[in-house]
Amino acid sequence: MARMKFLCDADRCIECNACATACKNEHEVPWGINRRRVVTINDGKPGERSVSMACMHCTDAPCASVCPVSCFYTTADAVVLHSKDLCIGCGYCFYACPFGAPQYPKTGNFGSRGKMDKCTYCSGGPEEDHSQAELDKYGRNRLAEGKLPLCAEMCSTKALLAGDGDIIASIYKERVAKRGYGSGAWGWKVAYKETIAI
């Protein structure tokens, strides 16, 4: 089976936010919940780089480890998902996530969290594929249709890559070899404990 990953080629990313709105569009994500976002490092200085970031679906995911109710699970495609039925909205995954991925609707007591929401790698949740319940809770399930996450599919400059880790790593390597520069596979070291040798 594949080991699904994201890779943002920051030398291609232009902070156009297509990934962010594609995600909103595909899953009808409400205002205030940002499953994906773009961060610009060294903003306004020559050589600034933007990186599109969401849940990286880590190897040995910290969120899953700290969850007090074990609502996370890893799919056969190595996608880290969670069950909103089990989630109690405690926020621990947010404290543990290196990428700020978990999001909480402000519906709980004292304006605090509801059930956690995050990037599903466009692959729904524990409910049956393409069921109404899955759609309502997690959004659309593209992976089960043989499609990849829409953020990556719609990326304006093909900076954001999704797919099997080995394949996207080789695409990135090939690009770097061709053009002669690369600012790195952002987040890979932290998420997957590996880097792409260039």
């Binding site: 773009v38 610009t40 600034e48 700290v66 089990l86 926020g91 290196p98 700020g100 402000k106 932290v190």
Partner: protein, 337 residues
């Protein structure tokens, strides 16, 4: 003289050089003759290397959420503490206290009133004081149980009851924890207000500690005021620990206004202090109930046996009796011991 002249000369020379350079500088500083943003791009490897512990790699994100601008941060360290250190610490604190108390009980047994029960009672805690105590106590216990569930529930309870039932309980426990937290905060606040005047540490406490609180051997009772040294420790632990629990808990209740690093810090404080306090409170419960004859009355009816009071709070009893007889005004002329 010559040296002074030469120094003056040197200074003038440098000033002139600076002036010339300075005149040339603005144009050069304004625009270098080549700027290659591709070659100058930031690289992740360099940023990770330069990263200080606890600091994120951050930039600018257009959404207002301040946290969104943090790209990569060290979540794994906190995870290690939360998943490994804290449970161990918790187990150690809870089991350690339990074992110590069992041992203590086996060796020392229940602490009796040496003089036996008298027929006389003395009012030790007024109704409001008892209310505050029990408010704090019940809320603490509820918080401790629901809180411990966060750390131990999934390894202890979940395998037994299954994920759905456990989540339902955990969800309920979270709500309890969030609401009862406010009762606890109130309890801690009142505790401080009503008892702080009797809990200022003084020399009596040193003597009390030197005598081991009279707990280690029968028939020996170091003098104590209204609260002895041990009780003062409990008081300050509850007040200071409770304040820290409240403060960190408050932040955890409203996570959306906090950064992740702060949230981690608050969660760490909250969990660590919780276990230390729980351990302490277990000891407090022991000594206040099965560990000591007559102690429970203080918080039950509020009236304690006079002999018990004389043995454990001799100075306080004296003061109380003097105050009652009206010969002295309590606290007005206390000897500076």
């Amino acid at each position: 003289m010559t040296s002074m002249l030469s120094r003056l000369f040197q200074t003038a020379f440098f000033a002139l050089a600076l002036l010339i350079l300075g005149a040339a500088l603005p144009a050069a500083a304004q625009q270098p003759t080549s700027v290659n943003p591709t070659a100058q791009s930031v690289k992740e490897a360099q940023l990770l290397e330069a990263l200080k512990p606890g600091e994120p790699i951050s930039g600018r994100a257009s959404i207002p959420n301040k946290d969104a601008a943090n790209l990569i941060q060290a979540g794994r360290d906190w995870r290690a503490y939360n998943q490994e250190t804290l449970p161990r610490l918790g187990m150690l604190a809870l089991l350690g206290t339990f074992v110590a108390l069992v041992l203590f009980y086996l060796i020392r047994g229940k602490i009796r009133i040496d003089a036996g029960s008298s027929s006389q009672k003395i009012l030790r805690f007024a109704a409001f004081e008892r209310f505050v105590h029990w408010l704090t106590a019940t809320s603490f216990i509820m918080l401790a149980v629901t809180g411990a569930n966060v750390t131990f529930g999934k390894s202890v309870l979940l395998p037994v009851v299954g994920p759905e039932a456990f989540s339902a309980w955990a969800s309920f426990a979270k709500i309890i924890h969030n609401y009862v937290g406010f009762a606890f905060m109130a309890g801690v606040g009142f505790t401080f207000l009503i008892w702080v005047k009797d809990n200022i540490p003084d020399r009596t406490d040193i003597r009390w500690f030197l005598a081991g609180g009279g707990l280690l051997s029968k028939g020996k009772h170091p003098p104590a005021k209204r609260f002895n040294g041990g009780q003062k420790i409990v008081f300050w632990s509850v007040v200071l620990g409770g304040a820290m629990m409240s403060l960190s808990g408050w932040h955890l209740l409203f996570p959306t206004v906090e950064g992740m690093a702060e949230a981690q810090w608050h969660a760490t404080i909250h969990g660590t202090i919780a276990f230390i306090m729980t351990a302490l409170i277990i000891a407090h419960i022991y000594i206040g109930s099965v560990g000591m004859e007559g102690a429970i009355d203080a918080m039950a009816s509020g009236e304690v046996d006079l002999n018990w009071a004389k043995e454990h709070h001799s100075i306080w009893v004296k003061e109380e009796q003097e105050r009652k007889s009206g010969s002295r005004i309590s606290g007005a002329a206390q000897p500076a011991e």
